[in-house]
Amino acid sequence: MSQAEKVNKASKKDERKKAWQTLLWVLREVHTLKRSYTPLVLINTLLNLATIYVPILLIAPVLEGFISKNWQKAWTWGLTLVGLSIALNLLKDFLSRYLKIQGSDLHEAFSAKIHEKPMTLDYPSSQDNDAKNAFQRAFQSMNYEGYFNEFIGQLFTLLGDLLSLITSVSLSAVLLLSSPKTEGWLSVIAQPWLATTVTVGLVVLLSLLTKKSNDQLAIQRKRYHDEHITVETDLNYIVMQVLLSHGNYALYQVYNMIPMIAAWYKEKSKALTDFLLKANIIIKREILNKDVSGFVFTLMAWFVAGVKVMTNAVPLAMVVTYANSLIQVSKSWLSFSENLATITRRVPYYQDIQNYMAKENALETGTIPVEKRRDHEVLLTMENVSFKYPGSDKWALRNVNVTLDMKKRHAVVGLNGAGKTTFVLLLCRLYDPTEGRILLNGVDIRKYNYQEYLRLFSAVFQDFQLFAFPVAENVACDVDYDEARVRACLEMAGFSERLAELEEEGKGLETEVASFLGGVMHFSGGEQQKMAIARALYNQGSVMILDEPTAALDPISEADIYAHLNEIIEEKTTVFISHRMSSCRFCSDIIVFNEGEIVERGEHNSLLAQGGLYAEMWAAQAKYYLEQGHVSLVEG
């Protein structure tokens, strides 16, 4: 064997091993999520077998009774056949409906589990479109190829096919090996060895032919599937994010974007329909293979059974039974091959999901507990930190050295893209620095328990999200909330008036913030911002991060927040990012970023005196608020 062949063989062996592992994984998952499911499917399979074979077997004694005018026999077996058929069907019906319920539970349980995963992975992976696409593809494959319940169903159908094969072969063997009792050329055909050889030969020939054809088709199918998933994912984006998304319709109409979007959609849609038509050709060939084999075999089955009967090798009453048994041989064999091919085809998709579920959070590197300190003594230091976003060549932060004094308010300012938000994302440890390190109370933050470290921060980001839950649940991030605390936080955030309105309307704290169909309901941007602030307060972190906390607020609400700042912040270390320079007045420390580096630092008046970037930004904004006679810049 050549080296290449050896490698190929080894990799095939490896593939098979992995496939078995995936299979076992699926079975384990199903067992964890719904213990009763697998046994039920097994029972269902056996029941299905029974419904096929009971009539086949029981028809014989009935016919026998009629043919030999043994009325007693015909009567008892006939009634048994009728009764048993109905009973089996009733049972089958019940079980299949019960399975539907269990299957739906299983489906939803797994759906929940798989969707939890992206949320527990590290932040960089949530922003990485490759990782997201891997998830989407795995999920789309499940939608297209079937969930676990279908997969288990198929496994057991495979088992059922095998059992059916064994049963039908046994019955057929009796037929084939029976010896003719008459003379003539027919009896030659009916000889056990001839009948058996021809039958077996035909089965083998048909199987080989169809297998070859089906293998080729399987390769084509796989290729089309992969193409299909890509097109489907793209189309899904256009449909979900552009066509059916909330809030953009006025824009599309006013800017007359509709022709452009229509052309775009049509192009992708055409790709999908083209794929469908191509895939259909494969399906038609598969049907052809299956039915031609079935046809040939059925004909042969009745022929052999008929000849055997005509040569008295077997009694007439058995003809229906034997013919159907032979037919079942080919049917079960074909079904078995088909199911095996389908399962083999689906294994890679389940492997994708298995691999995805096995991913770990890259940032969970530490174990030191972080106690939520009531005294909020939290000292954060950045030591020579530099950072590049994944996949980017540009330094977003360069050689940042800063210590945030405990319990003080720090403003972080700079032009767009200077690195302010990046600074804060590193502080919270949503990203790890590319170079340098960050310390909490002198210890590298990577050593701390990750989840506990995150809880140290109460953050309101610029693009904060509220969810389709009641107001109180959004604030508390829990279904069981401390009502008094929720109210206190909302009050500090300036939401009391609106809350009173909600209570008048009836639902108060239980009012839904957004609907499942998309879009926040009747809360303005400012009201939403106040709820986000309340949420940050409820969290009781020691470090507050406020990224443009008043961007959506009108001047009155903004002043309101500033007025309550002392209550809101209390003694927490606070980091303010804002383009509204006014917020700097509340901070004892102002850090000025430019192109990823800290260029200035100090308190307001000293920075103004320096006449650098800060002074420039201040002046640019302040000048519009100054009237004649007001002096704002420090003299000197």
Binding site: L79, V82, I86, D93, F94, R97, E108, E116, M119, S126, Q136, N143, L243, G247, N248, Y249, A250, L251, V254, Y255, N256, I258, K284, F295, T298, L299, W302, V319, V320, G414, L415, N416, G417, L430, L454, D463, F464, Q465, F467, F469, C477, V479, F516, S524, A551, D554, P555, S557, E558, Y562, M581, S583, R585, M617, W618, Y624, Y625, L626, E627, V631
Partner: protein
């Protein structure tokens, strides 16, 4: 149920509009035909088997019959696949007009709760898989018709034996039918619930994948609440599914139990006939036929359950699709002339329909905006600024009162004509996964005026950004469809929105918080250029940064839906009213020396 026929004719109409082969109906017809042949031969073959094995001469024709059955089965399978594919194709092609529809309906309607529901139904009709929606509907009908035809064939066959038995044969079917109808009503009442459960599930899943939610999801215990909510959702799904399946089973069970009675009676009668001399082959035939009727009728009722579910979805889908498009109102050919005066006369607006407790977003607005005037619209959150602007541009229609453009009532114009005059920058940033050029110009590549594009980019302060990109204006934005796409920052996106408005031009420019994400220097640069940007346009500027009002000719102050003050910045400052108070609240931080 009464919508069933309307839905069917509607979908057939839609089918005809699409590029699906005209001979499609032939495939369906042949499918039913082959199904009928299969039905007959399936009972004929076993019955003839016993009889034709007397000698070889009768055996060959019997084999012929077997061959015919095989052939018919083959045709039936092929045609079943073909008809299934045709329905699948129908759904995919119909998805295009379906998905386009929300964009063609009045934006006002689409932004509201009704619009969201309609989108959900459209989604369900064409995007939720093969079993549900328009495809499921057609496939269900196909299956029901096929089963119906086969049932009729079997009934005819059994009537040949004894037509007086017809009621007996049909008894189990009738029993199941009655039970089904009773339960169907109960199941259908839950159809809306099913839609809601789906919507909730989709929402929960979208949280997991939403880029913007990723920070909050990690910094707050969102995963925990997600788990609890999803668990609750699963419980409710279980209740829905089990309720439905148990009811369907009750209907099935009645069928099977009645069938035992019927089958036993039929068996006894047939038995006596055989004793009296009827050939065994006939016995086999009629047993096969009567058992077969059970199977087909049962199949009909199973499919009817599915059909009702799909019918519900298709009904709502049809209603959405039959809605008039946004461009249906107004006089064709009527074009607003140049820069016109915009006049609001006693305009009031409510987001919900009028009743005693109507919450008015705007009340009795009387406002005249002169051509070329630059208005600053200010007020507290929720005062109605965005609503006013949407009314001025024709996106919303007043609940009460009239709006005049150059003396002509705005309702007289076609919305498309009005929209040609308007360019706006709204608060939410909308970037789609296509090139920078297409995002700004909103036109396909072939239509782009590159000179104008570059002018707009320069004026919006986007030139540096474009220079930085390796593919310039042809760079793909976002990474949704292209791995190496570019994600612009908040400030850059905001400038892109402005470039879009500038490229469009028009007579009316609306800027809603256009500097919210800009740093102080970029903001100042925008203000400096403001008059230049909106040179020949009427402009409305909404901003919480009151510094911007100085560039406007007039300030309009809204409070709780009413105009409380209007005038120049200077005159309002002197008046020391609501505007001056608000201005001071913001200005004070820039004016005092001492730290606060």
């Amino acid at each position: 149920m009464k919508h069933l026929w309307k839905n069917f004719t509607f979908l057939c109409g839609e089918w005809r509009k699409l590029p699906i082969k005209k001979t499609a109906w032939l495939y369906f017809f042949l499918y039913f035909l082959s199904g009928g042949v299969v039905a007959v031969l399936t009972v004929l073959v076993p019955s003839q088997a016993v009889v034709s094995l007397q000698n070889f001469e009768t055996f060959l024709p019997f084999l012929g019959l077997v061959a015919a059955l095989g052939l018919a089965l083959f045709l039936q399978n092929i045609l079943q696949n073909e008809t299934y594919m045709l329905s699948f194709l129908f759904r995919l092609l119909e998805a295009y007009p379906a998905a386009m529809k929300p964009m063609l309906l009045p934006a006002e309607q689409m932004e509201g709760p009704k619009g969201k529901e309609q989108r959900n139904y459209i989604s369900a009709a064409v995007y939720w898989g093969n079993e549900l929606g328009v495809e499921g509907f057609m496939t269900n009908i196909r299956d029901i018709v096929a089963n119906l035809i086969n049932t009729l064939i079997y009934i005819l066959l059994s009537a040949r034996l004894e037509w007086k038995w017809l009621p007996l044969i049909l008894l189990p079917a009738v029993g199941q039918g009655i039970m089904s109808l009773i339960f169907m009503k109960q199941i259908n009442e839950k159809n809306q619930e099913r839609q809601n459960l789906w919507a909730e599930g989709h929402y929960m899943q979208s949280i997991a994948l939403k880029n913007e939610a990723a920070k909050d999801v990690r910094l707050y215990p969102i995963v925990d609440i997600f788990k609890k909510k999803y668990l609750d959702l699963r419980k409710r799904w279980h209740v829905y599914v089990s309720g439905k399946q148990y009811r369907l089973f009750a209907a099935d069970a009645s069928f099977w139990l009645l069938s035992i009675a019927r089958d036993v009676i039929v068996f006894i009668v047939l038995f006596r006939r055989v004793q009296a001399g009827m050939p065994v082959s006939d016995f086999v035939l009629y047993m096969g036929v009567i058992l077969g009727i059970s199977a087909y009728v049962s199949g009909i009722f199973n499919k009817i359950a599915l059909l009702f579910q799909n019918n519900f979805v298709v009904t709502h889908f049809r209603e959405a699709m039959q809605q008039p498009e946004y461009d249906q109102t107004g006089t064709p050919g009527l074009v607003p002339q140049g820069l016109g005066t915009i006049r609001f006369e006693n305009v009031s607006y409510s987001y919900s329909s009028e009743n005693e407790n109507t919450k008015w977003a705007l009340k009795n607005i009387n406002l005249t905006i002169k051509p070329g005037e630059k208005i600053a619209l200010v007020g507290e959150n929720g005062a109605g600024k965005t609503t006013l602007v949407k009314l001025a541009t024709g996106i919303f229609t007043p609940t009460r009162g009239e709006i005049y453009y150059d003396g002509i009532n705005v309702k007289e114009f076609k919305p498309t004509e009005l929209y040609k005059k308007v360019a706006m920058v709204f608060q939410n940033m909308t970037i789609i996964a296509t090139t920078l050029a297409e995002n700004i110009t909103c036109q396909p590549e072939s239509e782009i005026d590159y000179e104008r594009l570059n002018w707009a980019i320069e004026k919006a302060g986007l030139s540096e950004v474009v220079a930085r990109l390796s593919e310039g204006v042809h760079s793909q934005l976002t990474t949704y469809l292209h791995k190496d796409g570019v994600n612009l920052s908040g400030g850059e996106n905001q400038r892109l929105m402005l470039a879009r408005a500038l490229y469009k031009g028009g007579d009316i420019l609306i800027l809603d918080e256009p500097t919210a994400a800009l740093d102080p220097l970029a903001e100042a640069a925008l203000y400096e250029r403001y008059h230049e940007l909106a040179e020949n346009q009427t402009a409305v500027f909404i901003s919480h940064r009151l510094s911007s009002t100085q560039f406007c000719d007039r300030v309009v102050f809204l409070k709780e839906g009413e105009i409380v003050e209007t005038g120049t910045h200077a005159s309002l400052m002197e008046a020391k009213g609501a505007y001056q108070h608000m201005f001071q609240e913001q200005a004070k931080y820039y004016q005092t020396e001492a730290a606060l």
